[in-house]
């Protein structure tokens, strides 16, 4: 990212090569529209090129996944949840997961850790992330009490974090 901040096109292309499938995948899964997913992917990366300082450090994959999700939610809701094109400003904190641990985490490990979660925990987490819906809607759709949904989300995220830390150790 330091080289991208220095306006190095080759570094930016390398960053794009490494993460465009993640951004596109999130957009495609949330929007179910390949053209819209392409547009969103390009928009996210062009915005990053225009404003590389929006990334404050930490795990880049986690950060850009959140950016892609927010953009897709903007499209889904067809209104500005936040001003157009703005990056989340509270991400990338080193307080998230430890940076050195996160650096070792790869997509496959995350997917393996997610697959290892019980369905009752993984389903509301993925529904919440990709569906862009509230826990109330998740409770309604799954026929689960509201409090239970929130507890399962918390338990699932905790297990996910622990599994990722263990696999990176």
């Amino acid at each position: 990212m330091a080289r991208v901040r220095d306006r190095d096109p080759a570094a930016f292309e390398s960053l794009y090569d490494g993460f465009h499938r993640l951004v596109y995948g999130i957009a495609q899964r949330m929007l179910d529209d390949s053209m819209a997913a392409e547009d969103l992917t390009q928009a996210v990366f062009l915005k990053l090129w225009a404003d590389p300082d929006a990334f404050h450090g930490g795990n880049f994959g986690a950060w850009i996944a959140r950016v892609a999700r927010n953009r897709a939610l903007d499209v889904i809701r067809a209104r500005s949840v936040r001003p157009e094109g703005e990056f989340p400003i509270d991400l990338g904190s080193d307080d998230d997961l430890d940076e050195t641990v996160l650096a070792k985490i790869e997509g496959e490990r995350v997917r393996a850790a997610l697959r290892a979660l019980p369905d009752e925990q993984r389903a509301p987490i993925e529904l919440g992330f990709f569906g862009g819906i509230t826990h109330e809607e998740i409770a309604r759709r799954t026929g689960t009490p509201l409090g239970t949904v929130k507890t399962r989300i918390r338990s699932g995220l905790r297990k996910l974090r622990e599994a990722l830390e263990a696999s990176a150790a």
């Binding site: 306006r7 096109p9 930016f12 292309e13 794009y16 090569d17 465009h20 499938r21 993640l22 596109y24 995948g25 999130i26 899964r29 390949s34 997913a37 392409e38 992917t41 390009q42 990366f45 062009l46 090129w49 930490g58 795990n59 994959g61 986690a62 996944a65 959140r66 999700r69 991400l91 904190s93 307080d95 998230d96 997961l97 050195t100 650096a103 070792k104 790869e106 997509g107 496959e108 995350v110 997917r111 997610l114 987490i125 919440g128 992330f129 990709f130 509230t134 826990h135 109330e136 929130k150 507890t151 989300i153 918390r154 995220l157 905790r158 996910l160 974090r161 990722l164 990176a168 150790a169």
Partner: protein, 289 residues
């Protein structure tokens, strides 16, 4: 939002929902305000937020992946934009108070004068306007066609380069596969000696030593894994090959040289290029007995 422990559990559940982004806007505002004043909830939020964001990786699968044409199209657009942005010369801003330079003019050039309005018929104006319109449209269409053509040529070049790259990669992969098959055959040979180590095993077979590991953590830039061997009677380990695992964390390598007098094998993380002696605590030291 106060802090009895029973209440805290419900609060912490809400904090998790906030980290995942599933609260309504009103609830999210309340939880955000609470986190700003509650250390326990702030800690929970920071603990879970990173994991919540990584859930996005669940979509990086073949089911939701762009096809090659889409990838090429997106990259072409991005690269064009980025390269164009990089080529734009810096804008010179005139110093405050300076007078803008006049446009260049040829010395002694005659001063243009407005023509005297003639009494041409309106039909002539109409014809001239039509000609201008046709000329404008033709120019516009021509530049569009040229732009499209240039874009197609760029895309074609990009696709050709990708195909070439893939062929090279495929050849490399075939070579690698043949080598790996030979190593795996050694691993599975009936007379092979297998020595378990964390995340895998070390095997000695047909006079060769093979290390097979899985889920090996990726290393930061500038670091590699390095194998070490201890020969019988030696008092110090000798450096062997360096390597990095593939993207899945899988590693199968054969150590160079004869395995007959190797008494132990070790593995450590070293700077790229390797070291003459281990500089970090070995991940394992495995006696081959």
């Amino acid at each position: 939002m106060n802090g009895s422990s029973e209440h805290d559990e419900a609060l912490l559940d809400s904090v998790a929902a906030y980290a995942l982004g599933t609260l309504s806007e009103a609830e999210a505002r309340d939880v955000a305000a609470h986190i700003a004043t509650c250390a326990e909830c702030a800690r929970e939020y920071h603990d879970l937020r990173g994991a919540a964001d990584l859930v996005g990786y669940a979509a990086e699968t073949p089911e939701y992946a762009p096809n090659e044409l889409q990838s090429a199209r997106m990259k072409s657009a991005i690269v064009r934009h980025v390269r164009a942005a990089s080529d734009v010369p810096p804008v010179t801003v005139p110093a405050p108070g300076s007078t803008p330079a006049p446009p260049p003019a040829s010395p002694g050039a005659p001063v243009a004068t407005l023509p005297v309005r003639s009494r041409a018929p309106w039909l002539a104006y109409l014809a001239a306007a039509a000609c201008l319109a046709v000329a404008f449209l033709s120019t516009f269409q021509l530049s569009n066609v040229r732009a499209q053509h240039e874009q197609d040529v760029q895309q074609l070049t990009l696709l050709r380069a990708q195909v070439d790259q893939q062929e090279v990669a495929a050849n490399e992969a075939r070579g690698h596969l043949a080598l790996t098959q030979s190593i795996v055959a050694d691993l599975l040979a009936p007379g092979a000696q297998r020595f378990p180590v964390p995340r895998g095993l070390v095997a000695r077979s047909n006079g060769r030593i093979v290390i097979a590991l899985q889920h090996l953590p990726a290393l930061p830039k500038g670091k590699v894994y390095q194998a070490w061997t201890l020969r019988r009677g030696a008092k110090a380990v000798a450096p062997s090959i360096t390597f990095t695992p593939d993207t899945s964390g899988l590693l199968i390598v054969e150590l160079p040289g004869s395995a007959t007098d190797i008494a132990a094998v070790a593995l450590s993380v070293e700077p790229t290029g390797g070291s003459k002696a281990p500089t970090t605590t070995p991940a394992f030291v495995r006696p081959l007995s």
